[in-house]
Symmetry: D2
Subunit: 346 residues, 4 copies
């Protein structure tokens, strides 16, 4: 397919990004071209936009931003076999080597040769995007398009919550950004006894209640650890899903968790964190799981199954819908924290 | 406590049982006396009542029948420590030794020295019952009394469904007696993508739909295996919970299950069953779990958590409520199959 | 590479096979050509040779037989990337689709689109064999060539033994053909407390002792179940690895196993087997695992690691070494049972 | 039993301890009196002896020290059932409540109501010790007395090493005190591909090689992380058993471990530790397990099974044998680090 398309491009090593016209890309061997119907803004996109320390070390402009999306396959590269024009797809955004010991043993999500869509290679805040056939996830007929575009971060939430025993257990979700909010809904959908959440932003705290939280604590104004211990008979919760990356929240996760419990860490702290390992990790017999990406592709099948279960209401998490042209407004919403998931329509 | 009480007693080695007046029992060391508020009829009680082959080999009359119940602690034996008069309890009905290698490694539910309440020792279809302190499960304040009395069979359902991965997976429940019906509700509450059921009794098939089944197949009139394969893209379900004990259903479980899937067997076939082990178990890479009792006491905590989750509606399974005097009517309902759980009130 | 090569070919739908000269095959896209240094005879090869019922239904002659081998890569097809000429390889013999839900979730070993080397496509009892790049396992420098060629069946043994908890547990291996013999060595190498074996052939019983068995029972002459119960304080073993496919051995596996134990089934019975599911599987709370193939490719890494551990002596299992021309003698050894693994050198 | 006995007593809140004559204790209900045949010195005993910060906060003198031992039951308290005079026992040293949610779900080792033998209650550096019947571990006939007395710390090593997948995997043991040394032997006995160790004390480094380490790095003189990465093809080890409690070693554990690997932490750092959670725990997808005590009583059965396996040589770890009177010499050996396990004979 020849021609030009709209795309949000990080053009220089500085804050910001621009909507510009660029060539429609061509799929190489084993790749497909997708017409993007919807895309959503991730915290990572926001980091790239504001040009934080991590972005400065990782991004090589110019790059088309964005990696969460939903669209229709419109062109096939050579040698593609499992996909056809017209398929409605989303994408696993970790492009992995498939041949290293990690990829060969079900740990492709931590492949050392990973490149990431919209980070290391051109992304999906555009009318078209090229992805490897192996990364295309063909959606079922019944999934609403809006939900389809947020399956990738939903996969993060599912990976976090289901990284251990959960049915009938008590849970704390620390940090109610979009993935934290989804983690609440996931935990409830898989039978958590109760989900307690922590969040300082009032807008998001309200969303957390809509997602099914039993109670939301504001750590800026109250003692969340004390509150959660009281709510659990002094034992603490069986599982903490740490979604904030905030050092204090990480430390408190170890106070909130029950002896023998699990802490799954997804939120990324900007700096090293100090932990009382003896008292809070070893003597408590806690298990800590570092969570990144999604199991390829077991998490995607779990996401599909949970969406089909009819027990998970994600609509409240989608708070804003904007044309692609208004992406800067989306970024401002991310600045404020007064949003859940922001969807862009190219 | 001195005096007489009403009790349903299996008096002789023959079909039937009688409501008679007997002495109120006294709690020995480490035991407690419970005033029974409600009890429910189990398939095992029905087997004892009709005096089937298994019952003839196991039961030594006279015995007070019944083991699923809810009541109030009214008297403590010597040396009890963790319980007090007034506690509202149900009971784990497996009385185990606590010292054998199985008990010492978290497998008390298959302790070889087990005696069972209402089977090997006097049970709970009576105004009072004595149980070991170790077997008393103190209920939370918020559980409705009716549900409290069916926690023991609910524990069977939870043990079966949660004996492996389940969130986001497809499930088949073969056989919709009370525990099968509860298994449907449990599977949905813990995030099963869809639950397919099989049942020949129309009354129970209707209940299965109320519990959350996607579709109920009648194996007497349609090809359930074919239906389930079609509903799952030809792969079969990830998990089968076999609750019928019917040899044909057991065999079909292996046809319905996906490659690499799990079959959890709870229903007890009366005779040995012939299985095509090579094609259906080995080449398919299936895992089979024999399920008996409840994990002591992890399953009880899971039951508690799932009841607290608010996502599991068990009301439809309780179909009949009778005074203890009408226990024979309850047994007739069990004969017909036109019932879910039957509750008796002493 | 042009020219002719020696190959053992199943030429017609009848017992037997012949050593004939055929064209050296050419690797297609994504395939490699391997010069076979050594190959070993599997029970499956023997089934094809004697033309048993299974073989009659599965094999479409003419086919070059054989799938266990070790050799050197001599030619690369188009598009191969992870392998180079001179690499010393063995092969995973299950050629799978890589795109179905099973392949995408770590269960490629039960992919429904599997073809098997030497069964459905031409195999390795020849001077050269073509295999997909994805199936080539590059060997480390330190592995002895003879052991390299038996890694595939060793993988079956590892997959069986490690399909659950094993360190410090008691084990029974029923059936001491080559894979059963290797299972004994594997179980000892991973810390089994004691391995009891059953075998009727005296030659193999002696090998079982050399592999590390505590004691070998001859079920034709003694009560193996009784012996194993006595040796384990009446409880039975924690794990049974059933390697014979014999219906009586399968039934006895359920008598030998401890309450709450595991039975991993690898041996393929020729016909359906009758099992006392209620007493021996459900009431005992047993887990049964159907084992086929090897986890792709986690089992291969475990095999590599166990060979490197230096704690597993497999030399006794290799009992015969023959030139390829003498393959019929190898098949006769398999008839008699008076052998462990038979290696063929092209 | 009346009379006096020798005992090593922590008499005051100050460094040191004294051998004095005290009354032989009497077993209360559910307790037994054991004649101590041998005992061994734990790092915890040394902490109490030198009166470090932890000891100052925990110990209430006077207390008889010591908790690792082996001896003969000589008197039974009321109500004991599973044990008899003449039984040769060791002891699980965590005395737990048995009724809390942790004890009731297989997590007694982190029971919040735990008291510890020789720490919170009188211990075993004496001619006699009283222990609860529930904590007595009856030894098999074939275990050498010397090994019997070190089963408790061996249980720590087994708990650490077996807290995840290990057969065929590469392992690093950081810190070769007695439990670290035992961890090496355990890892090799359960099929670790290779065990790399780190240790700065030359005496212990030599012992580490005797226990089966592939190579021992001295972090004071060489780059252990670099060495381990080189030895593992740049990937790092699958499993780290952190046995030192040294903050730098803990930090390096995260550098040594492979993507998706496991770190089991047993060594207790004296102060909070700073960790680069984003890069080394989350992005690497690492699992961290806090290890304390022994699973009650699964770890004890694993210890028994591994000792019976005949594949674990622990003799090198027992380096010194002293009469109880020379306990101060034992403490000096612990000061120097020039010892493995020190056995005391009352």
């Amino acid at each position: 397919m020849k021609g030009k398309m709209k795309a949000v491009v990080k053009q220089t090593s500085a804050p910001g990004a621009e909507l510009v016209m660029v060539d429609i890309p061509s799929p190489g061997p084993g790749e497909v071209l997708v017409n993007v119907h919807s895309a959503s803004i991730c915290g990572t996109d926001h980091h790239i936009y504001i040009w934080n320390e991590w972005a400065q070390g990782r991004i090589k402009p110019p790059k088309i931003m964005g990696h969460e999306f939903y669209g229709e396959v419109v062109e096939l590269g050579d040698g593609t076999e499992s996909i056809k024009v017209g398929d409605l797809v989303s994408a696993e955004t970790h492009v992995v080597c498939g041949r290293c010991p990690l990829c060969l043993t079900g740990k492709g999500h931590v492949c050392k040769n990973t490149t990431i869509l919209g980070v290391d290679i051109n992304g999906a805040f555009a009318e078209y995007v090229v992805i490897p056939e192996a990364n295309a996830w063909i959606n079922g007929k019944n999934i609403p398009p809006e939900l389809a575009s947020i399956q990738e971060p939903l996969g993060n939430a599912v990976h976090t919550v289901l990284s251990g025993d959960i049915a009938g257990r008590t849970v704390a979700v620390t940090g109610c950004g979009p993935i934290g909010l989804m983690a609440i809904a996931v935990a409830k959908a898989v039978g958590a006894a109760a989900v307690y959440a922590t969040e300082i932003n009032g807008y998001r705290a309200e969303l957390a209640m809509k997602m099914g939280a039993e109670r939301v604590f504001n750590p800026a104004r109250e003692d969340a650890v004390k509150g959660i211990l009281e709510a659990t008979g002094g034992y603490g919760v069986d599982v903490v899903a740490e979604m904030s990356g905030n050092p204090k929240a990480i430390s408190q996760a170890f106070d909130m968790v029950k002896q023998g419990g699990r802490i799954s860490l997804l939120g990324l702290p900007a700096k090293p964190v100090e932990l009382d390992i003896s008292e809070k990790l070893i003597f408590k017999g806690v298990t800590v799981k570092g969570i990144t990406g999604r199991l390829m592709y077991d998490t995607w099948f779990q996401v599909k199954g949970l969406l089909e279960s009819g027990r998970m209401d994600l609509q409240p998490v989608i708070t804003h819908r904007l044309p692609l042209e208004d992406f800067k407004k989306g970024m401002e919403l991310m600045d404020s924290g007064d949003c859940g998931k922001v969807i862009l329509y190219p």
